[in-house]
């Protein structure tokens, strides 16, 4: 269970990215977070794994406090949280397998990862993660030589290799074409169902949010302005979250047909 209690994040320079956020997320939930750019979506995810320190409040994962955790504690917390990025964040100049093995960093002694001597069980976990996203045949290909959709799958495999209990996806499809976007979202939903990994996904396409989300959290200026079941969401809800009318730019609209 993930709990945000009265969490605020103020960046140096005074920008308040999150204001008094309260959230409860149960194990195994699939939560979609929507909001305009700058509404605090990325900050929300990064506060959870401590990449961005919360300024005040409390964030706990299964009872472990993230806010103010020491570096060793923080590493333990992060090792249980997989993260997927908008721009994939792969090391382009090395192999797909090496990228996925990065997910094993917390479990492997530093001297081993430093000289590239990964233990066989960890290599096996990495291979299985690649199998789960269906690109194990690319294991020894340089990451730079993959298409965008394949690169994001490597990103997912890297997160899976951590054997995480929570998965954070920060705009995972913003850099992908519509068809690939839906495949990647499908991968995330399948992993959520099959492995029971609690999943938080930032999205800005409303139709994708409707199609894949079960629970929707809406952020506006760092505040939670909506939190509820996706079936209760209307266009009026989105208007309220975005603070303006919905346009075609807010929809992915695959093959020209808007969903529902």
């Amino acid at each position: 269970m993930i709990r945000f209690d009265d969490v605020s994040v103020t960046y140096r320079g005074g920008v308040r990215a999150l204001r008094n956020v309260d959230l409860r997320i149960d194990d195994g939930e699939f939560v979609v977070v929507v909001g305009l750019s700058g509404a605090g979506k990325s900050t929300l995810l990064r506060a959870l794994n401590g990449l961005v320190p919360a300024t005040s409040g409390s964030i706990t994962i299964d009872g472990t406090e993230v806010v103010g955790a020491g570096s060793a504690e923080l590493r333990t917390i992060r090792s249980r949280i997989g993260m997927i990025f908008q721009t994939f964040n792969l090391v382009n100049r090395t192999s797909v397998l090496n990228n996925v093995l990065m997910g094993r960093l917390a479990s492997v002694p530093a001297w081993r990862s430093t000289i590239g001597l990964w233990p066989a069980p960890d290599r096996e976990i990495a291979m299985q993660a690649l199998e789960r996203v269906g690109i194990v045949e690319k294991a020894y290909v340089r990451a730079a030589n993959l298409s965008g959709g394949q690169q994001q799958r490597v990103g997912i495999a890297r997160a899976l290799a951590q054997e995480p209990s929570v998965m954070l996806a920060d705009e995972p499809v913003a850099a992908l074409d519509p068809v690939t976007s839906r495949q990647v979202m499908g991968d995330l939903r399948r992993i959520n169902r099959e492995l029971g990994i609690t999943t938080l996904v930032n999205l800005h396409f409303l139709d994708l949010a409707r199609e894949f989300g079960r629970r929707l959290v809406g952020l506006r200026d760092g505040e939670v302005v909506f939190d509820g079941d996706i079936s209760d969401v209307t266009d009026e809800t989105f208007r309220n979250i975005y603070g303006r009318a919905i346009t075609d730019d807010d929809l992915l609209a695959v093959d020209g047909e808007p969903s529902e």
Binding site: R78, M83, M102, A110
Partner: protein, 265 residues
């Protein structure tokens, strides 16, 4: 004019008065500085009529190609350059990482390593050589040390800029996976900057070959010492032969190095 909108082509901007003023100041100061140091192009022609030049010819190839006279010291120069490149570039790798805000483990380390490198860089390489010749005695050992320090300074300067400009995104991904700092930098940053590192190391090696010739002049071993000795005996014919040989060696090494570097980056 400039503020015009809606489709009209803008007029091409002309270099302003300020540009001409800057050029004017630079030219004027160059002329002034030349007067101050008695720089005079006509003296350049007088140099060519100096009888000294006749001493350069013919080159005594028998002496130059004798192993003990030139080839052995030349090999020593090469070896000094190899050792210095490996030591200097080896030390530069971790140092460059501690010097970048992106990859430094903490702020104190950043400040300390930056200060140390500023001191090292402030001392000219020839002075390092003199200092080390005084400290450890004349010979290749002092030369290797002096050039190692020189390599370190150059390499850190070049490579730390690469580290500063490294892509922070894989680093963030590695950090998010919960690895220790060293492991995060090793897996998230090193592979992205390694080709540049090797390319710079080869470039530093090229510099070292040339610099170790110069360092020999102050007694730090290698071919430079032979050149200096022959110059003192006014055997400029031998000096010319040695320089031709050095030219060939430097040229070959640079060609190989450039070819490898081109493949890397």
């Amino acid at each position: 004019m400039n503020g015009e909108s809606a489709g009209g082509r803008p007029t091409r901007p002309r270099p302003g008065v300020r540009t001409w003023a800057v050029v004017g100041v630079i030219v004027a100061y160059t002329v002034f500085a030349g007067r101050q140091v008695d720089f005079d192009l006509s003296t350049f022609w007088n140099v060519w009529s100096n009888p000294l030049w006749e001493k350069f010819w013919p080159v005594p190839w028998d002496w130059v190609l004798d192993r003990h006279n030139v080839l052995d010291p030349l090999v020593e120069t090469f070896q000094i350059a190899v050792v210095a490149t490996l030591v200097g570039c080896g030390l530069a790798l971790p140092l460059a990482f501690t010097m970048s805000p992106l990859t430094s483990p903490n702020r104190p380390t950043l400040v300390v390593s930056r200060s140390v490198m500023n001191v090292v860089r402030a001392v000219p390489d020839l002075f390092w050589a003199k200092l080390l010749v005084t400290a450890v005695g004349i010979g290749a050992f002092a030369g290797s040390w002096a050039l190692s320090v020189f390599s370190l300074a150059v390499m850190v300067k070049l490579f730390s800029e690469t580290v500063d400009g490294a892509d922070p995104r894989p680093l963030e991904a590695a950090r998010a996976s919960g690895g220790r700092h060293l492991a995060v930098v090793r897996t998230g940053v090193l592979p992205t900057v390694l080709p540049e590192y090797v390319a710079y190391a080869l470039y530093v090696f090229e510099l070292n070959i040339r610099a170790s010739v110069v360092l020999g002049l102050v007694g730090a071993g290698g071919i430079g010492r032979v050149i200096e000795a022959q110059r003192q005996y006014f055997r400029f014919d031998r000096v010319l032969g040695i320089l031709m040989l050095v030219l060939v060696v430097v040229f070959v090494i640079e060609q190989v190095s450039v070819a490898i570097r081109r493949r890397l980056v």
